[in-house]
């Protein structure tokens, strides 16, 4: 459909629209303002008994590394519905959502992550097209050196910290809280 090697907005330039105070991406031909917004990632720390569901990534970035079932919220979707969809797409897992575990902000890449605490309805999981394999890991058995992203470490540490809690404010980036040594996981 497109011959361009990347998704480069070739007809757009960055200018400040009238009545605005910051640069936007504007089509040089028609003046269409392509507002860019931070993206919402939704996902879960989902457990079966004392084991946590992880997915080994089959797609960039970080192919071959382990991550939580998570991905971009779609238009028209609630965050909870998005977290359930991602668990199904990536691990063929069916979940019951418990509560919001963490809200992590990665401003460098304009991302806000909403990670839920959840339970698997059954231990039957299988890799979807974006996963090389999926697994259920006890906390001690998680391959800590092969985790895809810092926020996966954060969510796993916060899951551990929340284990005895039934209702709690969502955790945030370790930098926002008083950092503790065990948050590094």
């Amino acid at each position: 459909m497109s011959k361009s090697p990347s998704n480069d907005p070739t007809r757009f330039s960055r200018r400040i629209p009238t009545d605005d105070d910051r640069e936007r991406l504007i089509c040089d031909n028609c003046g269409y303002v392509a507002y860019e917004n931070p993206k919402i990632v939704v996902g879960s720390v989902a457990t079966w008994e004392d084991r946590i569901l992880l997915c080994r990534r089959a797609i960039p970035p970080r192919v071959g590394y382990w991550t939580l079932p998570a991905g971009y919220l779609e238009l028209g979707e609630t965050p909870v519905a998005g977290a359930l969809r991602e668990a199904w797409e990536e691990a063929r897992a069916q979940l019951d959502i418990d509560q919001l575990l963490g809200i992590y902000s990665i401003p460098r890449i304009s991302q806000v992550q909403l990670i839920y605490r959840a339970r698997l309805q059954t231990p039957d999981v299988a890799p979807g097209p974006e996963s090389q394999e999926v697994g259920l890991f006890r906390l001690d058995d998680i391959p800590k050196g092969e985790i895809a992203f810092p926020s996966v470490h954060w969510a796993l540490a916060h899951f551990q910290a929340s284990r005895e809690l039934t209702a709690f404010p969502p955790f945030t980036n370790p930098d926002d809280n008083a950092p503790s040594p065990d948050e590094g996981l």
Copy 2:
């Protein structure tokens, strides 16, 4: 800059890209995929003593109606920084953020709202360019018939419900919780 009366993506059509499973907005000329993502609104229920900061909207939608200081999260911004920015832009208010009060999802318009509980550093507030006026209201004095959006009602009701709480999970849309009669405010 643009002669078009609206921000209509005239050169784009909706098609399913290769390797995707849903329609995206694709430029008919260059194949650029303009991914559309849900938008994040950040804002606050901010108080000075027992009074709540509200802003009377000077811009569409709902001009003349009262709302919380809130708006779209910008690229490269954390949600907390965005909530502080909006309070300054709309009410010249300086806040200390307490904790996440509510996370509201409006899938019909693909919006996720993160509303914080906050305290004003001083009672000095003044309308910014997007507000006709601003005010500090006791809960009983809020003009309930002139509230701009349902989620403002929700956040005010949840603020009231959270008054004696120092740490709590964020509230969600009333439909997601067990609804209670007083959540209608």
